[in-house]
Symmetry: none
Subunit: 193 residues, 4 copies
Amino acid sequence: MKKDKPKYKMIIDAAVVVIAENGYHHAQVSKIAKQAGVADGTIYLYFKNKEDILISLFEEKMGQFVQSIRTRMSDKTDAIDQLKILVDSHFNMLAEDHHLAIVTQLELRQSNKDIRLRINKVLKEYLVLVDEVLQNGVDNGVLSEDLDIRLARQMVFGTIDEVATSWVINDQKYSITDLAPGVHTLLVKGLRK
Amino acid sequence: MKKDKPKYKMIIDAAVVVIAENGYHHAQVSKIAKQAGVADGTIYLYFKNKEDILISLFEEKMGQFVQSIRTRMSDKTDAIDQLKILVDSHFNMLAEDHHLAIVTQLELRQSNKDIRLRINKVLKEYLVLVDEVLQNGVDNGVLSEDLDIRLARQMVFGTIDEVATSWVINDQKYSITDLAPGVHTLLVKGLRK
Amino acid sequence: MKKDKPKYKMIIDAAVVVIAENGYHHAQVSKIAKQAGVADGTIYLYFKNKEDILISLFEEKMGQFVQSIRTRMSDKTDAIDQLKILVDSHFNMLAEDHHLAIVTQLELRQSNKDIRLRINKVLKEYLVLVDEVLQNGVDNGVLSEDLDIRLARQMVFGTIDEVATSWVINDQKYSITDLAPGVHTLLVKGLRK
Amino acid sequence: MKKDKPKYKMIIDAAVVVIAENGYHHAQVSKIAKQAGVADGTIYLYFKNKEDILISLFEEKMGQFVQSIRTRMSDKTDAIDQLKILVDSHFNMLAEDHHLAIVTQLELRQSNKDIRLRINKVLKEYLVLVDEVLQNGVDNGVLSEDLDIRLARQMVFGTIDEVATSWVINDQKYSITDLAPGVHTLLVKGLRK
DNA sequence: TATGAATGAGACTTCATTCAT
DNA sequence: GATGAATGAAGTCTCATTCAT
């Protein structure tokens, strides 16, 4: 499996750094290769093309992110608590890797429609997780019984994403993790019974 | 004033159509010129360069949008009512021009940093408007007195934007204007005292 | 006759100023028109095309220059004296119109081969004049009887032109007219019997 | 070192041919690439941009020219002899490569100010060499003790350059090398004590 | 596996010239 | 005669991808 070879991860990590530091449109394959310490051609032994690097990057980073949230949620049954873990985890992930934060919140959004559609597929897992939490809340009578799950999920994700993007645009000047309680409170108030 | 000449608007409208139909990266100046029914060179009598078309497009469309919301809000004093107008107007604007919806929600976000910075300046006016509404609500005791205006604004804008983007990504299959009441209710519940 | 109409001369003078101040490659027809105080299209009522402006410019300025030297030479019979007038006049002409000096010594030389060939035709009158002076000197025994007139003319013109060009390149910092006696002495020594 | 790779020289030689045959303004990069037998993009592996080709062309050809004159002069101490080598070498170089003669005497002079400034830097080495020869002549009492070195150098260079340019304009119809003795004699007579 | 030199398609912009008014 | 808005051809350079070594 190519994904397990060390160079696969090296190239993805190099891509994160190069995109974060140079911006999406100046992240040439040759720069990523140089950062990864391999030849340009080597990239193509591990990735089909440049798009494939970006999509893999997102899959790799986002995939493990959803997994880790699920794990941390596993001992909570209350939707409110689960939502807290969700917000905390999301902000923590961004705070832990500033380069990745820039890449996911700003740079990757400049990619073309095709890539964004593929990225959205990965994102879907995250949105499904949000839906599950919300449905759980409704089922257990914690959240409004007449909650429109889809709208509610768009509020949850839209809010978290907008808070995150603003934080990155403002050069990550303040602590985003400190904002988690406030965001959680605000969301819960809107969703609660 | 160039902005008042008919060709200025013709070119901007042509740009909206071409970008929506071909995607940002395949919207060549020559295509825009053809769509507008003018020669390539004519574009440059009205715009400094290609970037200038995109920025002007956003300024032209978004600028009048903020103005029109302010006008429609003018006889409302209640923040809840004002928020209703905001959500309604935002969704209406997108629903009225499907091409424009694609351009603002998807395509223009692929532009480079310079353009996005200029676009953000225009967007700022919108965010200031949201802040004013929220502050008004707090001052008049309609909204939570301990509301964090910045977070609240990010929830309002993040939610509206996410709902809009999802609608566009799903090919505008359903009526976005029908979602306005639900979104408004959800937001107000989270913000209210 | 178009050449006698005031706008004809206005456009040529405007061209000299615009080329001197902006450089040959940035001297657009529209700039020349603006400087001349006429519309772009008006240029084409007096000149066939842009090349025609440049060639006419040279003809106009250089033609009257050769005439004026001939006039001033008319009472001299000695080739040495005539050469003195030639050098003096040439340098004086350049010193009197700094814009014209830049145009003839630097900018017009960037024109393409076709224009330069046409310019050379005008220049030929000047070279014929030099030839006449030299031939006169040889005939009257003032200059070497075995002088190769063509080579001698190339030395005379080449030297004067190089001195002039160096002066312009050095921003006309020093007085070029002060150099006339030295140049004359140097040339005469090489040519004299 | 890029300059030592075969393609570097191939591209420069191709540029000489293309510029000589098509003229400066019709020497597109694609033509040069085709003549050199490489892809357009390959040009940019060896040169920063089109200007860089032209400047490198001049540096490469002119640089080695000054070196070769210095070498050939090394066993001469008499300024008169040195001047003979200078004139001979200069004309020989032009006679040996008709394409290069066209490029240096006519086409490269159409380049814009930036390129000409860079070219002049290379030319300066040549002028310094002339100055050294002249100063040597004055110091050793061979040339006039009151010689204005700058004027004298301008005469030497201006004459050689004008003879060369005339020869190229006249389609190199006659032998320029045959003119060397006459030019040398003429110059020396003007400079000698 | 790994390399990296070579490829070549594709688009923005300028500006001389025209022509309807 | 005079205007000036409109035209449209044409060329440099980038960078993802390949393939001989």
